[in-house]
């Protein structure tokens, strides 16, 4: 049952007056902690938060109960507003993804952006690969690009919304090579993969974990990886740079933030906790199983990198002809 915000705020205000005197006592949460996510139950963000809860419990890093609160809607806008509403509550943490950076650029309605919140840490980067059907004539990314140049607009890529990484990488590649191919948006990963496997589109950008089994069964072929360095499981697949395309795809990240006035003690606590988490065995196992990249960046450095990413995204959107409202 949710506690009343007013009593919480009053208690915190009282405690806050003691902070200057308690500089030696490290803050620890004493009330249940809430992780706010921007998807419904079962969405990517929700599952990550639940996995984090399990791991934090396993590693005994947090002494209180943790609960995942779903605030879906508006591509992260509703969740961002929910986190901001918590003002200085140290027991609230928001789980963000790159969607929180892209969303505000196109949605005027979104009043609160991730930059109004306190950055805690970046946790992960999500790599991706370019995949085609195993029976397609393209053996390398170059083959595909050449074919696209020869038949502009005829080849098709399936992917998520027009502001997603899938499309941004495509736009960057198109600008770098002068090739043009169509982009078809599907809201769900399952549909995108089905479209590729069924021969309705020619290529897609997919997370390595989703593609793994179909590659193993010989239905898909991976052309290149969208990451800076080669992933351990895909050691013989070239990265974009190695394939000859010097583009820096905007990274797809996952991280944690706190409410705008979260006290410094709490921010410090959470940074340390997540730092310990990312060094733990269960985290390493999780990252390996899900084929992600561990990329821990905390506090101000995190904020700077988000600002950089946001700037790059904005440039890409403008180049792609997407209407930006900020």
């Amino acid at each position: 049952m949710t506690r009343t915000r007013s009593t919480c705020a009053a208690a915190l205000a009282a405690l806050a007056t003691l902070v200057p005197f308690a500089s030696h006592a490290d803050w620890k949460p004493t009330k249940p902690v809430e992780f706010i996510v921007h998807t419904g139950p079962g969405g990517g963000n929700d599952l990550l938060a639940r996995a984090v809860v399990t791991m934090l419990e396993q590693e005994k890093l947090v002494p209180v109960r943790m609960q995942v609160i779903n605030k879906p809607g508006g591509g992260g806008a509703v969740a961002a507003a929910a986190v901001a509403d918590r003002k200085d509550d140290p027991n609230t943490v928001g789980f963000i993804t790159s969607v929180w950076l892209a969303g505000p650029l196109t949605a005027k309605e979104q009043k609160i952006t991730v930059f109004d919140l306190k950055p805690i840490a970046q946790l992960l980067r999500e790599p991706a690969v370019f995949a085609v059907r195993a029976d397609s004539p393209y053996k390398t990314l170059k083959d595909f690009v050449e074919a696209a140049k020869a038949h502009p607009g005829q080849l098709k890529q399936s992917g998520g919304s027009i502001t997603s990484r899938d499309n941004i990488v495509r736009e960057q590649l198109e600008h770098a090579t002068g090739a043009k191919w169509a982009y078809v948006s599907f809201p769900g990963g399952g549909e995108r993969l089905a479209a590729l496997l069924g021969g309705h589109v020619d290529i897609m950008v997919i997370e390595p974990q989703e593609a793994g089994e179909n590659v193993r069964a010989g239905k898909l072929r991976v052309l290149a990886q969208v990451s800076e360095t080669r992933l351990p499981k895909w050691a013989d697949i070239a990265t974009l740079k190695e394939a000859g395309y010097d583009i820096h795809p905007t990274p797809q990240i996952r991280g944690v933030v706190g409410p705008p006035e979260m006290p410094a003690e709490a921010v410090k606590y959470w940074i340390e906790t997540f730092d310990k988490l990312h060094r733990s065995a269960s985290w390493k196992k999780y990252v390996e199983q899900n084929e992600l990249e561990d990329a821990f960046v905390s506090g101000d450095a995190f904020r700077k990198s988000m600002e950089q990413t946001s700037k790059e995204l904005r440039e890409q959107f403008v180049k792609a002809g997407i209407k930006v409202t900020r």
């Binding site: 419904g40 139950p41 079962g42 969405g43 929700d46 599952l47 639940r50 996995a51 809860v53 399990t54 609160i69 779903n70 605030k71 879906p72 809607g73 508006g74 591509g75 806008a77 509703v78 507003a81 196109t106 949605a107 005027k108 309605e109 979104q110 009043k111 607009g153 005829q154 098709k156 919304s161 027009i162 502001t163 169509a182 982009y183 078809v184 948006s185 809201p187 769900g188 990963g189 399952g190 549909e191 993969l193 089905a194 479209a195 496997l197 069924g198 021969g199 309705h200 589109v201 974990q209 989703e210 793994g212 089994e213 179909n214 193993r216 069964a217 199983q289 899900n290 997407i322 209407k323």
Partner: protein, 503 residues
Amino acid sequence: MDILTGLMHGFQVATTPLSLGMCMLGVVLGTVIGVLPGLGPPATIAMLLPLTMKLDPTGAMIMLAGIYYGAKYGGSTTSILLNVPGESSSVVTCIDGYQMARKGRAGPALGMAAIASFIAGTFGVVALMLVAPALAQVSLAFSSPEYFALMVMGLAMVVLLAGDSLVKALLSMLVGLWISGIGSDLFTATSRFTFGSVQLLGGIEFILVAIGVFAVGEVLANIEPQDPPKMLPVPKGIRNLLPTWDDMKRCRFAFVNGSVVGFIIGVLPGAGATIASFISYGIEKAVSRHPEEFGKGAIEGVAAPEGSNNAETGGALVPLLTLGIPGSGTTAILLAALTLWGFKPGPLFIHDQPQLFWGLVASMYIGNVVLLILNLPLVALFAQLLRVPAYVLQPLILGVSIVGVYAADASMFQLGLLALFGLVGYAMRKLDFPTAPLVLGLVLGDPMERALRQSLMMSQGHLSILLRPIPATLLVFAALLLAVPLFRKVNAIRVQVLEREEA
């Protein structure tokens, strides 16, 4: 391994005490969740995921699957008794199920829902077992043009749901289409009809509109007269509480309809149980000898959609277990669960993990039987709910509606929307606008628009992509569906003219 060996192996796995226990737990939990609006399988399974880490994967999968199809059994309960859809896919059941309850036939309605769910659910498992890999390959041929044709066929059902005034039904549907488009456009990130509100960026949830228009609207309508019309008393005796043989005979086709339509649509990743229930309802009405009874308490109108939403579970597992493609919210979480346990669903899954696949299939047979045995006596229990006076039921329905909406999305804004749609539902009833087409438009509008735009993107603007074999067939079918009532009307006029001539 071939099917018979696999199945025997599967039953061995599924009948161990642990597996049976997990199956029971899953189906009971599923039924409870289905009964309660607002709580659905995705949320529950997500919450249980950490617990499942400590269990044996096969057992855990059996339990989670039990929750999935168990919820489909329970979803019809509040739909029939209170006109509050327990699950998105149970919305269609409200249409005839609630009317049956008002006529004192709540028991047969609930019983038929359970029976149809059992028949179709079992069909779904059998089909999963027999044709999974082959069907998965065939289903890949289905893409945006085919989905578009399917949605058009679905919308053609409006004609069948029209009742007296086709113009009003179409207007209702158009409003539904409009509401469906509220939010951020997938292809261009443009905000449409969001009135500047961040809460509307993600669109309006379908179940919220359904609960508002159906449940809250109905309460408001019922509260009008000082002395509310009493619902016909629930008859006593088990015989009167279950469907009669006549009922079962009438529903013969509905069982087949629900099973096949539900399973096939379940296999398609882009279409879900709600669409399946609408289409099977439409088909049932189209081929019925007494179509005018639909909407007023036709038992086939309960059997067909309830069957199809259960067969859909079997169908949805096909792309999940043979291609690693999740077709719906629940299968997406099941995929996450399987990945968490270290399995990777894909083309090699059945081959690599036979005990998991066959164990699951066998336990689904068992689970469906358990659910039937569990639900039939519950019919008697639940039907008693209707003996409560109207003035107790009305706050109950309003309370359940609030909790249902708030549990899905905890925001006062959503509750405000619920109140708004309640008023809309009341106004529609008052002004004699049929409510089912609104819901239909809402369910199909956005997917249909997406499918059309995706198709045209694939074909670079050539509409001819819609003339591929499957879409063409479906579009012709849609045209036929539209033609049937027209034909009937023409026939009726012809008969009238003949009678006048003879007189």
